[in-house]
Symmetry: C2
Subunit: 206 residues, 2 copies
């Protein structure tokens, strides 16, 4: 399990995280990471096929923590509507604080979304797993009306709360104002979930 290869991969990743968090992605060079690990730059390519791959691995690691928090929340106690609200509130707070405290994370996020467009989609899909759990709990408890396709509804919840994902990119609102807005939007959405939804046939089905 703990073979040398994964060990070295780990070491490289740690060195990269250290530097990237301190100096940023662009300012961190492969040569520096290599020096920190006592190897040559070329050798890194036996463990990661590119610099952006290191960033992706780093982001995956960070997201593991978030996913665990989300899993705990989805599985934990409380009514489904409360959990749904808390879920989105937590997501907003997490990104708000991350972007607020160190801009280095933002830089990595931007580079990743440019170079690895599918990565963000994966994360969204993962998040939906937990949203669907909450939705299903709500249906079972009678708080939400039954629905054909919980995953689609989860996607709609994500769409409707998009503004609160990258708060400081859209608006220069303060956290309290964002909280009030998100609560307002959640009021509407949760009310919507409590009622059987008349599904619209697409204007232009594809």
């Amino acid at each position: 399990m703990t073979d040398k290869t994964t060990d070295t991969r780990q070491q490289i990743l740690e060195a990269a995280v250290e530097r990237i968090m301190h100096y940023g992605y662009a300012k961190t060079t492969m040569a520096e990471i290599a020096r920190d690990c006592g190897m040559s730059a070329g050798n890194i390519y036996r463990f990661f096929s590119s610099k952006i791959d290191i960033a992706e691995a780093m982001a995956r690691k960070l997201n593991t923590e978030i996913n665990q928090k989300n899993a705990a929340l989805a599985r934990g106690p409380g009514s489904a509507p409360d959990k749904m609200r808390a879920f989105h509130m937590q997501a907003m707070h997490t990104t708000f604080n991350k972007l607020d405290s160190d801009a280095k994370v933002l830089e990595v996020a931007e580079v990743l979304s440019n170079e690895r467009p599918t990565f963000a989609n994966e994360e969204m899909a993962q998040e939906r797993v937990y949203l669907v759990q909450i939705l299903e709990q709500g249906i079972a408890e009678g708080a939400f009306a039954p629905m054909d396709n919980p995953n689609f509804v989860a996607e709609m919840m994500q769409s409707a709360t998009m503004k609160f994902r990258y708060p400081q990119l859209w608006s220069r609102l303060t956290l309290p104002k964002l909280e009030r807005e998100l609560n307002g939007v959640m009021d509407l959405l949760l009310a919507g979930l409590s009622v059987p939804i008349r599904v619209t046939e697409s204007v232009s089905a594809e």
Copy 2:
């Protein structure tokens, strides 16, 4: 009413629109606009206090048309929920087509949102006037539950549909996919509007 000053202002604005639409904002110089009007660059400043002011006037003019379409839609026939859906669908289509057809408009929009941050807010507020009209019609007809503060609810509708305002900035979705998503979100929101909303007290009131 038609004094010379406003005439000249109009002439400058038209010349600017012509050039900006053709060559873009950055590539259009004050000297060129002045030449088109048969005057010196310095003289423009007797009519507009800066280049960005010209762009703002231009955007105001464009938005007048949009506002008229919105007013017509809000006042026109149809049930409130249908109109609410059509309203947001129209907004999405308008920006999608604008950004798709000529990137020049996007450039002006970007410069404006940087240099005149309050301008976009004004537009949003104007749009809300029409949203409130639709909401009030819906309440009168019984399609929407009564609400304390229609303007706040209109704001929430705007927040929840933010993703569909600048479609190509967020996602690389095609128009049909965006339509389906927006319809899904509207299904949720309209269902929410049909039910009396339990208003949440802010987690951290400010």
